[in-house]
């Protein structure tokens, strides 16, 4: 009777620098076999300079390699069918200068877009008319509407994003987090197709 090894590939792995990729880095395995330790230490791939940022390890190649090393063991794959290895030089925090620049960019940018938007929809005129309609007095600068409006603008955005600095209003992910997750997933899907050597359509010599 052959022993069964269950393999679950990890979806995303970050590795630092050029190193050998072992099975335990990219997959979780479950098996009654006494080879478990040995299996986990099996080297599958060596990251080289040509790999640059991303390497895709396809589960087919992993099983192929393991089969040739351990002929008596049966491998069963569960979970994702490839692992994306992102090679990072060293974790470095983005400089405070860049962060503050982006902060200022967003601050000025949003301030300008909201002003342009107000002009675009003639909000001043609408609010003047509204002020007249509600109170019966003509007022060129209906600040009693406009100042609460301005703060409401911020509150509305907070409600939408579900965040006030680190504090959240409830457990649900905000649309922003969902959007970032989706974007990441799209990227992953793209690279796992185009960076995967098995998907090359070139004829094999």
């Amino acid at each position: 009777m052959s022993e069964i090894v269950y393999l679950r590939m990890k979806r995303n792995v970050e590795m630092i620098g050029l190193q050998a990729v072992q099975l335990r880095h990219i997959a979780l395995i479950s098996t009654p076999s006494q080879f478990k330790r040995e299996l986990e230490k099996t080297t599958l791939y060596r990251i080289s300079k040509e790999d640059r940022n991303i390497v895709i390890i396809d589960s087919f190649l992993v099983i192929d390699h393991l089969n040739s090393l351990y002929p008596g063991i049966e491998f069963q794959l569960i979970g994702p069918s490839q692992t994306i290895i992102r090679i990072t030089k060293r974790k470095k925090a983005p400089s405070i200068l860049i962060v503050s620049f982006v902060w200022l960019l967003l601050f000025i940018g949003t301030a300008m877009t909201i002003m342009n938007f107000h002009y675009d929809v003639s909000m001043q005129e609408v609010q003047q008319k509204l002020h007249y309609l509600l109170t019966g007095e003509q007022e060129e600068y209906p600040l009693w509407i406009q100042i609460p409006y301005s703060f409401g603008l911020g509150i509305g955005m907070l409600l939408f994003f579900n965040h006030w600095f680190k504090k959240r209003f409830n457990e649900e992910p905000s649309p922003l987090e969902v959007e970032i997750f989706n974007y990441q997933q799209d990227l992953d899907q793209y690279v796992s197709y185009y960076e995967n050597k098995l998907n090359d359509n070139k004829p094999i010599h």
Binding site: V102, Q124, I147, Y149, S150, L153, Y183
Partner: protein
């Protein structure tokens, strides 16, 4: 007389057609931005979906009425503050939805590697909107 009736009839057709087009567009716009689902999610009131639909329609018709009428109501300032505040919250959600749809944030976080500072950037937009709006109403237009 007959010509007058005919012109009235054409006006009715034009008005109705214009209203239909604008109404469809407006609802489509609100739907695409996803403000209503977001509000439902926040208030956990899935069952009231029909009520919200009716609210949007009633609000649109009421808005149309006050943009064409010329009456006044002599309300206290409190009503103005409430009105402005609600208007702001709604517009804030609208603006937030637009920013998000444009995918500025996922790009920023990936490209420049600002994953850890995302909330600060969110606050930049938040304060930018308030500051821009206050600046415009209190200084810029005067």
């Amino acid at each position: 007389m007959i010509i007058n009736l005919f012109i009235n009839f054409i006006e009715i057709i034009i008005g109705l057609a214009g209203g239909l087009a604008v109404g469809c567009g407006f609802v489509a716009f609100l739907t695409v931005l996803g403000i209503i689902p977001r509000l439902i999610q926040l208030s956990k009131s899935q069952s009231l979906l029909r009520v919200y639909g009716a609210c949007v329609i009633a609000g649109s018709i009421f808005g149309t009425y006050i943009s064409f009428t010329n009456i006044t109501w002599s309300q206290p300032i409190f009503v103005l503050v409430l009105w402005g505040g609600l208007h702001g919250i709604f517009n804030g959600m609208l603006a937030a939805a637009l920013t998000e749809v444009l995918n500025v944030f996922p790009l920023l976080s990936k490209r420049i590697g600002l994953e850890g500072h995302l909330l600060w950037l969110l606050m930049a937009i938040f304060f930018g909107k308030i500051a821009g709006s206050l600046f415009q109403w209190m200084y810029f237009v005067k």
